[in-house]
Amino acid sequence: MTMIDEDVLINALNDVASAFEISPDATDRILTEAQANEPPSRSRHVPTLISQPSRGRALLVAAALIVIVAGVSVPLFRSEGNSNKIAAFGPLGSRHASQGSVTTTAPPLAISGTGSAAALLPPGVSGKTLNGTGLTQVSANALKTSTSLKIESSGSIALTVAKGHVESAFTRLSKLATSDGGFVDSTEANVGSRTSGKFSYGTIVVQVPQRNFAKLVAQAQRVGHETSVNTSSNDVTAQYVDLQAHITALEASRRQYLVIMTKATTIEGILAVQSQLNTLQSQIEQLQGQLNVLSHETTYGTLTVAVSEVGHAHGSTPLTGFSKAWHDSVSGFISGFQWLLRLAGPILFAVLALGALFTLAKFARRVVRRRRL
């Protein structure tokens, strides 16, 4: 690469720069102006960003840090709070109530068509479930209606029976259900490795009328040796009443549209009214379906009985000793890992934000320094 000779450049620059005389008055002017503008005291703080980091800057940085940390942690905790809420009111198939011994089972059909977890708890119903009693505290709003209480009950029992008696236990449980006016919803029996040709464990789901549910639970416990019993009840009266009221209102609208239909003379008018009627009909049928499901669930209580031979490790048998410790350890490890993963995103964001802030501050400092000088 060709470059200009340094000596040539130096000589040329010196020649150009020395092309004029420096006015001797110029320095005097500067001195005069400096004297005029000299501050009264030298102890006055000279504003500069170069010398020492000020308290104000430290406060600014601290405030920025607080804002970033708050910005990161608030959504994080909020999301954790939401996830807890979902766990409490979430899909019934997997949830555990706040008290450890209470477990609810999934209803066969979803009640709400929206799929919202909150919709499962009707307004005005506290939903507080009492362990084992099947009673539910209902708020005053729900009790104002003339409709009788609509309670849906469910429960699960784990039983152990003597070897080779799983089938007979199933038979007894079926008889209990039918004698109480109920029926067997489903059964599942499995052959274990220790016994040949006979079922060693299985599950039977029975449904009985609500009034006989408590009786069935008591009877089922006597079929074998119970290792766990979980029952719960949920008051859906308000939801039931809401659905009924909604359907009534829609039917009234439909009747009015039918009257209008008789008075319609033009094709456009008839089509418009027909369209409205179709929509109303669809809504009525949808709500009626939900009401039917709710009605069925409040008519029959569902009991799931897991039966296993003595010595067979059934899934629902509570873990004890080392196996429990190992299970807890693994689940704790997974939870910790999930927590770390959840935390990694916000931390990364905080680091990036701090980096950006630092770069910005550095740039601003440089600009200010240039301007000051």
Binding site: N11, D15, I22, S23
Partner: protein
Amino acid sequence: MEGSTGVDDLQAWLAECYPQSVRTAYLILGNRLDAEDAVQESFLRAWKFRDSLSKESSFKPWLYRVVVNTCNSKLRHDIPRREGRVNDVNLVDIATYDDLPGRIALSNDVMSALRDLPVHLRVVVVLRYYADLSEREIAIAIARKQGTVKSRLNEARSRLALHPALRSESSRSSTTSKEVTG
């Protein structure tokens, strides 16, 4: 020279550095009046903020930093908004001090080439080859890394060598150096 404590120190600064500062500013700005304005402003600002000069740092790069920043400010804000001021000093003036037509022509060419350089390159060339600052001192003066200064100097010298006004001069100097080595 350390941070001053009064107008006396400013007087000492002026006596030591004012002429060279004005000429440096002139080479950067290309105009004598602008250069004098810039340097006057620079000295006053430097004196006002003299506390920001730490005892460890050297005075000259610090002062040139103020001068360069003021020149940059003028180039950015004042000069573009003003109607074209005559680019003095006419290099014919050199003839009155030094009657060497060849040097006059070369100086004219150098000034023209300097004006065609981008400001960031012009500044490092002037600080290095006129103000005689080291690369480290230039780095302090322009608040950049030393490597940046080095690369800017190389780029500036290359551009100057390719400039039409200086191309003959650079080829002539390379020929001369070959002859000397030969």
